[in-house]
Symmetry: C2
Subunit: 395 residues, 2 copies
């Protein structure tokens, strides 16, 4: 039969890179293509120990229906942690959600009518962009610079899109660029959000994984109006399959977020909430974070060094201060898609910038490299192959 | 600040029963109000044993990002089981989802434009109705009879709502009525769906828990067109906090459902998928189901007997053949809401029918009683109190 798909889903399908990414499963492929954290760093023994204990001590609490807002002791633990980072909870509330992806889903569900605008960093996390598209949002991209969005382009976008409902940004070690928005730009972006009366969705899955430079205050910590919705994730600091994240928002929105959460999956899984709580309060969580940072700092440095050694000097890239990604840019606006495709035929998978574009018709000169999952040998070998390719392309 | 909530969410808020249900947490309250399965029946020891084993044997597979469509061996196991119930997989596909609630979410996301119609049984599961509302769907209720929807009202609804995208039904031991749609009506409903070219969402969280009468073939097993999307759940046969269910749909829709799933939570949690797979294939899953059936049969019989003994004879109710619920109806269309409110002041919580209404302005004479969670003593005591109240009300 003929299926009538809802208009809102029309924009979602047909990712240009789905075919490319299926190649990531090829065991001979050196994959810089994933967004996965390093598997070797999962605290497996502790997770197993906590699981055995909580299933023995209070199995029903792990298995019966739970509260939509999340497990209260975990929520309190996260609030305490965020308070230390300058986010107050006099007027804010924190709910547990099923990963940062669901935070994007709830935000769009609650605030964006079909056809209305969401302003996004260009390039930005494809999963979030698709979620906004799935609500019929019109995406308007603002070019990302090494210290955050181009402010005049942002103001222009706000001015010409009075139906904008929120600005979506990943201020720390952005996916895909690895760029961090400076404090100055955070303040300026917040002021623009005030002037044009829009919300900000501050997506911060990587903020805890800063391995160089100074921490920059979150936009939420600068928020005086209840204008910023902040989301964090356990995917990168505990394990992605926990499917757990959290959202911080003005307490006036609590009933709205609870109702939206009930509509999508009732509540997030309880066992993993208990594991996160126990690990954060009874184990060496800070030591675990430090080990992750050391691991990622080493891998990032290895990749930057290999890129510096092998890549054609006209290819630009930054040293990230955290997170999982580096984006490299071909010179003169050259489209990176055929470059990435040829890299794949030579056995190295990266992700072309077009995958992260608000407008997927617009070519991008960037390609994303992930340093958290490949082995050291793969990083060295993959960068050598890509480097040869840059020389072949750029002469 | 003033928040502009998306129009689609305007219908969702303000459930008349949220206040009532907060009372369910009062330890002195006898609660017939929940939709929870019996906690004492969770296979705790087996879950703990499987968890310990899989976390020891293959921790990374439990913790790293997984596939949106779900864990393949679990999907195959479910397909084999459903094949035995007459659902073929030549043209169908099965994906794991994060509970039946998410199945409703994905279905509405994929098929319903704002303002379009979803036809629902009246009364029906409030969680599904709110999810459809959260996509701006217009809900049209068709009265539920003891053997399924009123067919002439259904045809009338289809005729007068040519923008209907699907019919939502819970054919087995419906929530809230406990009613089961007869095979004759299933065939007639399918034929009407063909005539008016609409889809059917067949929500079957309770079908496995038939403790009396003969099994009735699913609508999906009657489906020749790829018109039925079927969803089942692990919430009632394993544990709700697993947040796991599954959807069966025409394979032509696979990419669409995968894209929609990626937009909401990337994938469902892997550990619990492995637990379900191991429990279904390596443990006595059928014996567990049999024990659940025996438990629920006994509790349902106890409640029906207590209701028969204590309730005013003008209050009508059926003996359910499975599931978790009985709905009782006050005579002469009397609004059950004030009855339920007075029951609560006497210490017994039930849920008024209006909570399950497509049109929450329309009074309902029904109130829902759950027999799976209260203890035997609570069932006897609660029915006695409610019975006295029926006599006080009906004289």
């Amino acid at each position: 039969m003929e299926y009538n798909i809802a208009d809102r889903m029309g924009q979602v399908e047909g990712s240009v890179i789905r075919q490319l990414l299926t190649l990531a499963g090829d065991p001979k492929m050196i994959s810089f293509g994933s967004g996965n954290p390093a598997s070797e760093a999962f605290p497996v023994a502790e997770i197993a120990a906590i699981t055995a204990r909580v299933l023995a001590e209070d199995p029903i609490a792990m298995l019966q229906y739970g509260l939509s807002e999340g497990y209260a002791p975990l929520r309190d633990t996260l609030k305490t942690r965020l308070k230390a980072e300058g986010i107050g909870f006099e007027n804010n509330e924190l709910y547990i959600v099923s990963g940062g992806q669901q935070a994007c889903d709830l935000m769009a569900k609650l605030f964006v009518n079909e056809g209305e605008t969401v302003i996004v960093e260009e390039p930005s996390f494809m999963g979030a962009l698709n979620t906004f598209r799935s609500y019929g949002a019109k995406l308007v991209g603002v070019p990302m610079e090494a210290d955050g969005m181009d402010l005049s382009a942002l103001e222009q976008a706000l001015k010409s899109h009075p139906d904008c409902r929120f600005i979506y940004m990943i201020p720390n070690f952005q996916n895909p660029t690895g760029f961090t928005t400076s404090l100055e730009k955070r303040r300026a972006i917040y002021a623009l959000a005030q002037r044009y009366d829009v919300l900000i969705l501050e997506d911060d899955p990587y903020g805890t994984l800063r391995f160089a430079g100074e921490a920059v205050p979150s936009l939420k910590s600068l928020d005086t109006d209840g204008r910023v919705v902040y989301t964090g994730s356990f995917s990168k600091v505990m394990a992605p399959a926990f499917r757990l994240g959290y959202m911080v928002f003005d307490a006036a929105l609590s009933d709205r977020f609870a109702a939206a959460k009930q509509c999508v999956d009732v509540h997030s899984n309880l066992l993993f909430q208990h594991i996160c709580y126990a690990y954060m309060t009874q184990y060496d969580f800070e030591g675990h974070i430090d080990r992750l940072k050391a691991l990622y700092a080493r891998k990032a440095a290895l990749m930057v060094e290999a890129m510096t050694t092998h890549f054609h000097p006209a290819v630009r890239f930054n040293s990230p201060e955290g997170g999982l990604f580096i984006m490299a840019f071909l010179p003169d606006g050259k489209d990176a898609y055929p470059f990435v495709a040829e890299g794949i035929t030579r056995g190295v998978l990266t992700v072309p910038g077009v995958a992260f574009a608000a407008d997927p018709q617009k070519p991008s000169s960037g390609f994303r490299l992930n340093f958290s999952t490949p082995s050291d040998e793969q990083i060295l070998q993959g960068c050598k192959i890509l480097g040869e390719l840059t020389h072949a392309w750029l002469g």
